[in-house]
Symmetry: C2
Subunit: 141 residues, 2 copies
DNA sequence: TATAGGGCTTCCAGTCACTGGAAGCTCAAG
DNA sequence: CTTGAGCTTCCAGTGACTGGAAGCCCTATA
């Protein structure tokens, strides 16, 4: 298989596949003409990577997951640990975004959004210093 | 004020402040010795930026928000538009993460996490090709 | 056989928002 | 006069691609 077909079937763009080869995630053979020659197993690996990336795993996680996948002596605990850590990171990210969302949606609701310059969003942003460190020891206490 | 004090008071690291100057978000004056000389208004701007960044606005959004802030003839609708678009992006991101979270948490729950190699997480990942394009027109239908 | 096109190759650069580090100047204290 | 902290610039790296240029390969058609 050439890279085009693999890209088509795995859903991963050719550029990305080449990049994955660059960083050693896949090692396709080469045909006489210099083209990459992918076997079914390479395709399989790429699909694996695509799925793992879609679940938000980092490339390094993917690398580890892939090597566990190929390791017959793996322990499922190793996989679970990676997944649990990633899940935790996702939860953190969601929490952070929800906090942003919360604040921002209040501000958006409060803003009339008309032709007047008056704006609670800008007011909030410009009031940022209030919560910061004071001038030099002395503050508007 | 030197960069150190501004960093302290705005909560933005010196490196980042220099970067913001590089990309034209702040334009501190210079002292005779070549040091950046920040005025209160620069500090204020930096705090504004810090707050906007904390709400997840991109640098380009920040640039626009800042210029609206300084524009007395702005219309709050302009600000609101930026904020609403950002809010929409946050919502998309949250939805995407929650979908990941959903799938991943099911997989994690299903994985025993013991010393055996058997693992539903890897099984899911390796089954990724199933949902993809078939060989060449002909599939395991 | 010539040519046109599409697919493949490599390499370089850019994205976003910083961040680390090196080399070197300035300043205040002792 | 030295020490050390703070400041300066510049260069490079992060993560995970992505775009583009220059050029080779292969097939189909005129």
């Amino acid at each position: 298989m050439n890279i085009g077909e693999v890209a088509e079937r795995s859903g991963i763009p050719p550029k990305t596949i080449r990049y994955y080869e660059d960083i050693g995630l896949v090692r396709p053979q080469r045909s006489g003409n210099g083209y990459r020659a992918f076997r079914e197993i390479d395709l399989h690996k790429l699909a694996f990577l695509g799925r793992a990336r879609a679940l938000g795993f980092s490339i390094e996680d993917c690398r580890n997951l892939l090597s566990l996948y190929e390791d017959e002596t793996r322990e499922s605990a190793q996989v679970k640990t990676i997944a649990e850590e990633h899940l935790g990171a996702i939860d953190d990210k969601i929490a952070q975004l929800q906090e942003m969302r919360e604040t921002l949606s209040h501000l958006v609701e409060a803003c009339r959004g008309d032709h007047r310059p008056d704006c609670p969003i800008l007011k909030d942003l410009s009031g940022a210093l209030a919560g910061c460190k004071p001038t030099t020891g002395r503050s508007a206490d």
